[in-house]
């Protein structure tokens, strides 16, 4: 969390994270270059650079795309999510080297402007004749947009929903890159293991997203109001003791996800969307008396959904009541930061 903007809000975990990423990038590039030399493939320096950065960026993109669903499936993966933006920017930087060197290698010093040449390679029939480089260039443009707006400055100024929608374009970039590889490198490099590796990567990314999606489907089911008398219009959340201590149950009411927390005997509810990156607050926990987002540790006070001073984030709150050990939720959201007295349960 921060109250101002700095280029990078360094801390020990981020430094370690970046060190591991750097080691991974260097290992990948070194493995490709060294084994190309050892097996005497006869590549020029430029080709070795273009290919080693291509495969490194492609592998990093797979890691990036897998971290999200893995962290949803098992919170022990959350440290990988925490600094994923640095991983993304690193991946863009590696892909940029690949793109720039490819542009120079294949399009520069000719009779046409390199950028014009990039998009005017003749199309011939079949996969072999389809120009694959513009697909990679389009993906690189998306990755640039994401890297350039990755800072919290842009997150705050674009607002989390817009920023998140923009960054969902990573899936479009991934699709373009898979096609770039399938219609490019795999047209030349016909060893079946290479095709199999691309397919395994695709299945891994899609599979993890589908599994994580199915897991979340339960909380997406709209819960209808079932209260009577003075609880008319309220939603039955279930027994209070079924909500793990310091944790939340997520349910969807009126089309919005709401996180209902229990912290000892206190029960309270707020929007499931963290104001920072719209992270799932309900998958976080109550730490030091504050609801803590699992993604980047943004914190909110239970009673009013406000970040403690000097921070200024705030989320909508909801009224709760505990009746006969069951938690009831008023589906009407209060304005972000509105005080709502937490309810209490006698069975902590």
């Amino acid at each position: 969390m921060g109250v101002g903007y700095r280029a990078v809000g360094w801390n020990r975990n981020k430094k370690r994270y970046d060190q591991v990423v750097l080691v991974g990038v260097l290992l990948s590039i070194a493995a490709f270059v060294v084994l190309s030399l050892v097996t005497d493939k006869g590549l020029t320096f430029e080709t070795a650079l273009i290919r080693s950065t291509a495969i490194t960026a492609f592998l990093l993109l797979h890691v990036i795309l897998c971290i999200g669903p893995l962290a949803r499936l098992d919170q022990r993966f959350l440290p990988l999510l925490y600094n994923r933006r640095h991983l993304g920017v690193t991946m863009f930087a590696v892909a940029f080297v690949h793109g720039v060197f490819s542009l120079i290698q294949f399009h520069a010093l000719g009779d046409t402007d390199p950028l014009v040449s990039l998009v005017t390679t003749p199309i011939s029939g079949g996969a072999a004749g389809f120009p694959f480089q513009p697909l990679g260039a389009a993906a690189l443009a998306i990755l640039f947009l994401m890297a350039a707006t990755s800072h919290d400055f842009w997150l705050a100024n674009l607002t989390a929903p817009v920023w998140k929608a923009l960054h969902m374009l990573v899936y479009a970039a991934y699709g373009l890159i898979v096609m770039h590889v399938a219609l490019g490198a795999l047209q030349d490099q016909r060893h079946p293991v290479l095709l199999a590796a691309v397919i395994v990567g695709l299945v891994l990314v899609l599979g993890l997203h589908l599994i994580a999606g199915f897991r979340e489907k339960g909380s997406d089911r709209e819960v209808a109001p079932s209260g009577t008398d003075d609880l008319t219009g309220w939603v039955d959340v279930g027994p209070a003791d079924e909500i793990p201590d310091t944790r939340a149950r997520i349910l969807t009411v009126s089309g919005e996800r709401v996180a209902v927390f229990r912290d000892g005997t206190r029960v309270f509810a707020m929007s499931n969307l963290c104001q920072h990156q719209n992270g799932p607050l309900g998958e976080g926990c109550v730490r030091d008396g504050l609801v803590t987002c699992p993604w980047h540790g943004y914190q909110y006070r239970p009673e009013d959904g406000q970040s403690p001073p000097p921070f200024h984030e705030r989320v909508p709150t909801f009224a709760t009541r505990v009746v006969d050990g069951r938690v009831w939720l008023d589906p009407e959201p209060r304005a972000a930061g509105t005080f709502v007295e937490p309810s209490t349960t006698t069975n902590p």
Partner: protein, 255 residues
């Protein structure tokens, strides 16, 4: 998996990683690094051999001879032994042909500096800009006068490549990954050749011209770097094979 203890909950800006998470993640990160390096290494070992073309980058040598236009300029240089002639395809710097560098009258003797590119017995010179001059033909230099050998009509299957890259400037200089570059080179005037490999992998190069002997560069661009079948008249000009055929008759062999 939900840790009940909030102190076991990872918060990025709090120094350290909870023990339970650390012991789970550390071996997985190590495994991930091994997998990344292994996949990159495996891809390196499984990639195609880029061939044994040579580009003597940074090394320039003097060359001399007559220019034969097929229609691209070809340097016909007397062998030092005096027994015959060598023919060098020519290109300029970058993705450009050498057509405009040789403007003298037919039969002129040229001297130039250039960098050699060679593969499978076929050579090209990348001509150094400004090094071309016309000089007096040396005493004893014999201009080849024999007509080309007509080898008849042949149907050949191969790939159109730009002669400069394939012979050694780029490695690899053929197939899909290199297609855009080959298009740029051929569009820029580098002589297009049909690369034909026999069952044992031996390469033969045919300089492509149309049925009238004219340049085909612009007409072959959509067909570059793709499997292709060409039927045409084959001529032998010294050690250089020329394939005369109208590009409209070329047949792409899509898989």
């Amino acid at each position: 998996m939900r840790p009940a203890d909030p102190q076991q909950f990872f918060v990025g800006y709090v120094d350290g990683v909870p023990q339970r998470t650390r012991s789970f993640l550390a071996p997985l990160i190590a495994l991930c690094l091994v997998v990344v390096a292994s996949v990159a290494g495996l891809a390196a070992t499984l990639q195609n051999d880029a061939g044994d073309g040579v580009f003597e980058f940074g090394v320039t040598k003097p060359f001399a001879g007559w220019i034969e236009r097929l229609p691209h300029p070809v340097l016909v240089s007397p062998d030092p032994s005096g027994d015959g002639h060598s023919r060098y395809l020519l290109s300029a710097f970058g993705k450009h042909g050498a057509d405009e560098l040789f403007t003298g009258a037919p039969g002129a003797w040229y001297e130039l500096e250039g960098t050699l590119v060679y593969r499978d017995g076929r050579s090209m010179i990348e001509v150094v800009a400004g090094s071309v001059s016309i000089a007096t033909t040396p005493t004893g230099a014999v201009h080849p006068t024999a007509s080309p050998d007509e080898l008849g009509v042949r149907t050949l299957t191969g790939e159109i490549v730009d002669s400069k890259c394939y012979l050694g400037v780029m490695k690899p200089g053929n197939l899909k990954s290199h297609r855009a570059c080959a298009v740029r080179c051929i569009s820029g005037g580098v002589p297009p050749v049909l690369l034909v490999r026999d069952d044992e992998g031996y390469a033969t190069y045919y300089l492509l011209v149309d049925d009238e002997g004219g340049a085909v560069n612009e007409r072959v661009l959509p067909m570059v770097a793709l499997p292709i079948e060409i039927t045409g008249e084959v001529e032998r000009h010294g050690d250089l094979l020329v394939l005369r055929s109208d590009p409209d008759s070329y047949t792409l062999l899509h898989e």
